[in-house]
């Protein structure tokens, strides 16, 4: 009797475990609207959001969309914070419970696009008469292209411009930056603004802050007529004398002229905190910083265009947007929501949340953005910079390219010369783009 019982119990346990292990994960594809009894397609949207954003999504954006689209139900799958966001997304895809739409930024888009997991929107865009791609800033839209394919729609963006402390300029007798500024003028001002205020032999007010990030330094290379890659992404151009000279000037601000401390996010004080705490007179920053500035900056500040280089003006973009995953079973419904997120309603949400500029032109240039409570006098500078803004390139060998870039820190630390670093970078990248993707 006992034996039989044991056998039955063991068999039951085996069945349960086996069921747990071998049942494929499924996520419901349809539900029924409790109010109308309609069958609805569930579109899952994966993003990372701060609690205040989640609140806006749940109380404003999603209900608004579902009102006009009774056949679609939006399910929000939010990962709190961006740590491990990509890994979590990959796990969802590997577990075959992938979402339909994912939130991306300029930082993770190249990696996701290079993996081939995003849906190519070229034909969908061409076939949708209600969608006009010219409602968006072309240069921002360009950020969501990878190898000539459009993989998503941007929802919010900003260019990078000079944010400066007016009080500091007044105190040092330096005229405010304007569109006449070129590199020599910028350097002259930065030198005048760099000071040891308490006479302890250490500088405690800098003209500028040098940020070693891929959404900052490329602008200085472009300003000098250089570039990172050829347009077909087959060859690296950082060993070109023009590229070297551009980067050299940027790095020199730190290592030769000592007017800008080197800053990475992990040095305990970010460049934005240095500006807020009045340790830096100018920083190159985006409009996303306004929210941070809104808390406790008790001095007058404004924005101005980036200085003009030898060759041209240039700036980089920071943006956020959404993509449809190639694995989706409901591309049509997903596309509807994607349009909504980036369209008029999505644009209004971004304004409400104080999220830089919406990518939707009509709202971005309107007074609700440019005359917002946070706006400094020359807020429009960010928009005026769009025509000369560019997206820094990424080849499909994303990992190798990032690794090659990590060696460039040596130049900022003054441990290697800029020409040597550029040569090494070009060598690494050229080797990587000819090799297989591992």
């Amino acid at each position: 009797m006992k034996k039989i019982l044991t056998v039955i119990l063991l068999a039951a346990a085996a069945v349960v475990i086996g069921k747990l292990v071998f049942t494929p994960n499924v996520r419901p594809e349809y539900d029924v609207d409790p109010k109308t009894g309609h069958k609805r397609v569930i579109v899952e949207w994966f993003n990372y959001a701060t609690p205040e954003f989640l609140d806006l999504y749940n109380t404003y954006l999603i209900p608004e969309f579902e009102k006009t689209h009774p056949n679609i139900k939006i399910r929000l799958n939010a990962s709190l914070g961006d740590t491990g966001y990509e890994a979590k997304l990959m796990t969802l895809i590997a577990g075959k419970i992938s979402p339909d739409i994912v939130h991306v930024t300029q930082a993770n888009f190249p990696m996701l696009a290079s993996k081939g997991i995003l849906l190519n929107l070229n034909s969908i865009v061409a076939g949708d008469a209600t969608f006009n791609i010219h409602d968006y800033f072309e240069q921002v839209m360009d950020g969501m292209r990878f190898q000539d394919k459009l993989y998503g729609l941007p929802s919010d963006f900003s260019t990078i411009a000079l944010v400066y402390n007016k009080d500091m300029f007044d105190k040092c007798g330096v005229p405010y930056p304007d569109e006449t500024w070129d590199w020599p003028k910028f350097l002259w001002a930065a030198k005048k603004l760099t000071k040891d205020l308490n006479g302890d032999g250490r500088i405690d007010q800098f003209g500028f802050v040098n940020v070693n990030s891929y959404n900052r330094w490329p602008a200085w290379v472009w300003m000098n007529g250089g570039d990172m890659m050829t347009p077909d992404l087959k060859r690296c151009l950082m060993d070109d004398p023009k590229s070297v000279e551009g980067l050299q000037f940027y790095v020199d601000l730190s290592t030769k002229y000592h007017v800008a401390p080197f800053s990475t996010q992990n040095l305990g004080q970010s460049f934005e905190e240095m500006f807020r705490d009045q340790h830096a007179a100018m920083i190159a920053d985006s409009r996303y910083a306004y929210k941070f500035f809104a808390k406790g900056m008790d001095f007058k500040w404004d924005v101005a265009p980036m200085p003009k280089g030898k060759a041209c003006r240039a700036t980089t973009f920071i943006w956020g947007g959404n993509c449809i995953l190639a694995t989706t079973k409901h591309p049509k419904e997903s596309w509807e929501f994607l349009k909504f997120l980036s369209g008029y309603e999505g644009a209004l949400l971004n304004v409400k949340a104080g999220n830089a500029f919406p990518a939707y032109k009509k709202v971005a240039v309107s007074d609700i953005v440019l005359k917002s409570a946070l706006s400094p006098p020359h807020d429009k500078v960010f928009l005026d910079a769009i025509p000369y803004g560019r997206q820094a390139p990424f080849p499909i060998q994303y990992a190798e390219y990032s690794q090659a870039m990590s060696k460039m820190d040596e130049a900022w630390a003054g441990r290697a010369t800029v020409p040597d670093i550029c040569k090494q970078f070009a060598k690494d990248v050229n080797l990587a783009v000819t090799g297989e993707v591992w």
Partner: protein
């Protein structure tokens, strides 16, 4: 000899035993042994999570030999271990000896020294980032503090000059980032200290009394009584710190991400980057197995060597 048959009672007991440990067994098989075997198989494959697993033979291992970052991250890890282990061991033993005195409020001191090692890792890492900030950080403020300097050129003059005029840029400088992390590692000596303290309290008082009668001075007492009696504890701490140093990850992950110029790219951090940033699961698995082999052989060498210097009572 004939094998004895289990009695019914023995069999029931064995079954019950297995039943009682089954929660652990199931957990171990599903969440430890399974993944371990899976990662061994993966190390011979190419897999980016999304596309099907593809068998590539020894290619991952061959690629590891060519990958300069594998070598670099191993050297970084050894560099860290070579300084952090001895410093940490001596620091922990030193503090334990001090805290083993019979003084008033000793419990308070013990708590104070132990507290840092129980504070959350990320919080301390952020704190140390502040301390190491090149311009505004506490460390460089202190190092460049002005000190009096007597000049004997024309008579005697006292000048105030910075103690160190150009202090290192710590985490921003490829040369100084690793020393910064090593200095920071001393923050956690409390864990080892506690184990030493327990070991010290286990040494019988008679041994010291006997040594005293033989005319031993404090240094001799330490060298001929404390150290041999403490050797099993030292051995345990040594093995744990070697393993810990080879798996060091959090500090670099939070504070530097391997930067600047890969100077703090530890082996496990690079492994993690390959797995979770670049999604080269096969390659990362191969790296994990290399790490396993390294740690296993180091520990075996330790065990072999330990026979020479570890005394068990």
């Amino acid at each position: 000899m004939k094998k004895q048959k289990m009695t019914n009672r023995q069999r029931t007991e064995a079954l019950q035993g297995f039943a009682f440990i089954s929660p652990w067994m199931i957990g171990f098989v599903c969440f430890a042994l399974g993944p371990v075997i899976f990662s061994l198989c993966l190390s011979f494959c190419k897999w980016d999570i999304l596309t099907p697993i593809q068998f590539v033979g020894m290619k991952n291992y061959a690629k590891m030999v060519q990958d300069p970052l594998v070598g670099k991250s191993l050297v970084n890890t050894l560099y860290y271990a070579a300084f952090a282990i001895p410093l940490g061991m001596c620091g922990a033993l030193g503090t334990a000896l001090l805290l083993n005195q019979k003084l008033k409020a000793m419990r308070l001191f013990r708590t104070l020294f132990y507290v840092p090692s129980v504070t959350s890792g990320v919080a301390t890492f952020l704190l140390w980032s502040f301390i190491f900030n090149p311009e505004m950080g506490l460390m460089n403020r202190a190092l460049s503090h002005k000190v009096p300097w007597i000049e004997l050129v024309n008579g005697i003059a006292i000048k105030y000059i910075p103690f160190i005029a150009n202090p290192p840029k710590w985490l921003a400088d490829p040369t100084w980032a690793m020393p910064a992390l090593i200095i920071m590692s001393l923050w956690g000596v409390g864990g080892g200290m506690l184990i030493y303290l327990a070991g010290l309290q286990g040494i019988p008082e008679e041994l010291y009394e006997a040594a005293l009668l033989d005319g031993a001075n404090p240094i001799q007492k330490f060298w001929y009584v404390t150290i041999p009696m403490l050797s099993p504890t030292i051995f345990f701490n040594l093995i744990m710190s070697i393993i810990g140093s080879f798996q060091v990850f959090g500090a670099a992950f939070v504070m530097t991400g391997g930067a600047p110029a890969n100077s703090t790219l530890f082996y496990v951090l690079y492994l993690f980057q390959n797995a979770m940033m670049y999604f080269r699961m096969g390659y990362a698995s191969a790296m994990a197995w290399l790490l396993f082999i390294i740690i296993l052989s180091l520990t075996l060498i330790q065990l072999r060597l330990s026979k020479k210097w570890v005394h068990y009572q």
